[in-house]
């Protein structure tokens, strides 16, 4: 209940305030979002497995998001143009794994 509510509040803020993303930040925000989504699904999985810890969740959420953005930023600085793909693949795989684990717990399949 609290989760859904706070998620809706966040979306409402994002839509209502419509913040302007500086063009220089544009490549990094989607990476942070990917990492954040991974953390959320990881937290959901931990919740179903009974190993959820709010400290771990909050810290992994923030650190994953910031690290993902930093990694892509460092990649462009180092001349690795397609660093986004690495991030997308890594977090994409992890999101799928988490979702698969959740599916197994929920449906036993």
């Amino acid at each position: 209940m609290l989760v859904v509510l706070s998620l809706l509040v966040g979306i409402g803020l994002g839509v209502g305030l419509h913040p302007v993303v500086p063009p220089s930040w544009a490549p990094y925000l989607p990476m942070a979002v990917m990492a954040a989504l991974d953390s959320v699904f990881g937290g959901l999985r931990a919740r179903f497995e009974g190993t959820f810890n709010d400290r771990v969740f909050v810290i992994s959420f923030l650190s994953n998001a910031i690290l993902a953005a930093l990694l892509v930023w460092a990649g462009t600085r180092l001349g690795v143009q397609e660093m986004e793909i690495a991030v997308v693949v890594v977090f994409g795989v992890r999101i799928f794994q988490n979702l698969a684990a959740i599916r197994r717990i929920l449906f036993h399949a």
Binding site: L2, V3, G10, V21, V33, R55, V58, L62
Partner: protein, 244 residues
């Protein structure tokens, strides 16, 4: 989510730390929602699209934008030229209008269509015995015009190009209007020149002095008014030979 997670977070869990954990989770998820909404929204902008386009696509976009920019630049030049032309023709038109207005004013005065005022002379011809014929008035008008009179009125009748002087002495008609003696003549023009023209030897004053019982009085005025106007003549027969 609240109770089970509390059990999983290890020992020493108090209701207070649980609440704090929930607040942290709520804030984190609100941040997620905020990030999601921001990102989804920003994806609609061109700058964000550009940052994920391939190099060749970017090159193509650049080419298109350059072409568009060139096109707009040449459009600006065209419009500047047009603006200059329009300004030029406007000035030309203004001159034409000024000329036409001056011409109209001159013609209006010449045809006696508007009241006029200015320096000039006023004359009164006394003719108690009805000896003066229309030729005297005609001569007077001729002399006045020769001396530079620009507008003339005789006893309330504006003298224009088509004005005729007819009738026997004592029943003179000016422009088909009978006017009784004494005849009042107002002329607008260089006052002293007009007065002098009247008094030259053999002129109007001279010839009237020869007639018994007549007299003429001449006054120079700095501001005479001719208020009577004549109707715009309608030409039935005469037509301009060339039409502009």
């Amino acid at each position: 989510m609240t109770d089970t997670s509390g059990g999983a977070s290890g020992g020493g869990t108090t209701p207070r730390s649980r609440t704090r954990g929930q607040i942290a989770i709520a804030l984190t998820l609100a941040l997620l929602g905020f990030l999601l909404a921001t990102q989804l929204r920003s994806q609609q902008g061109l700058a964000q699209r550009l940052s994920i386009e391939r190099e060749s696509d970017l090159g193509q976009i650049l080419t298109e934008l350059t072409a568009r920019s060139d096109q707009l630049s040449s459009e600006i030049v065209d419009l500047r030229v047009k603006l200059a032309q329009a300004t030029g023709s406007e000035a030309q038109q203004r001159t034409l209008i000024t000329d036409a207005r001056q011409q109209l004013e001159a013609l209006q005065i010449l045809l006696g269509l508007v009241p006029v005022k200015g320096p000039g002379i006023q004359m009164t011809f006394e003719d108690p015995k009805s000896t003066l014929g229309p030729d005297v008035l005609l001569d007077t008008v001729q002399e006045l015009r020769d001396a530079g009179a620009e507008a003339i009125e005789i006893s309330g009748v504006r003298v224009v190009a088509s004005t005729a002087f007819t009738g026997p002495p004592g029943a003179i008609q000016v422009g088909r209007v009978a006017i009784p003696a004494p005849y009042q003549v107002t002329a607008i023009g260089p006052a002293s020149t007009l007065a002098e023209a009247m008094r030259i030897p053999g002129g109007v004053v001279d010839s009237l002095a020869a007639e018994a019982g007549t007299s003429v009085r001449i006054t120079e005025v700095s501001s005479a008014s001719i208020l009577h106007v004549s109707a715009l003549p309608e030409f039935v027969h005469a037509r301009p030979k060339t039409r502009r």
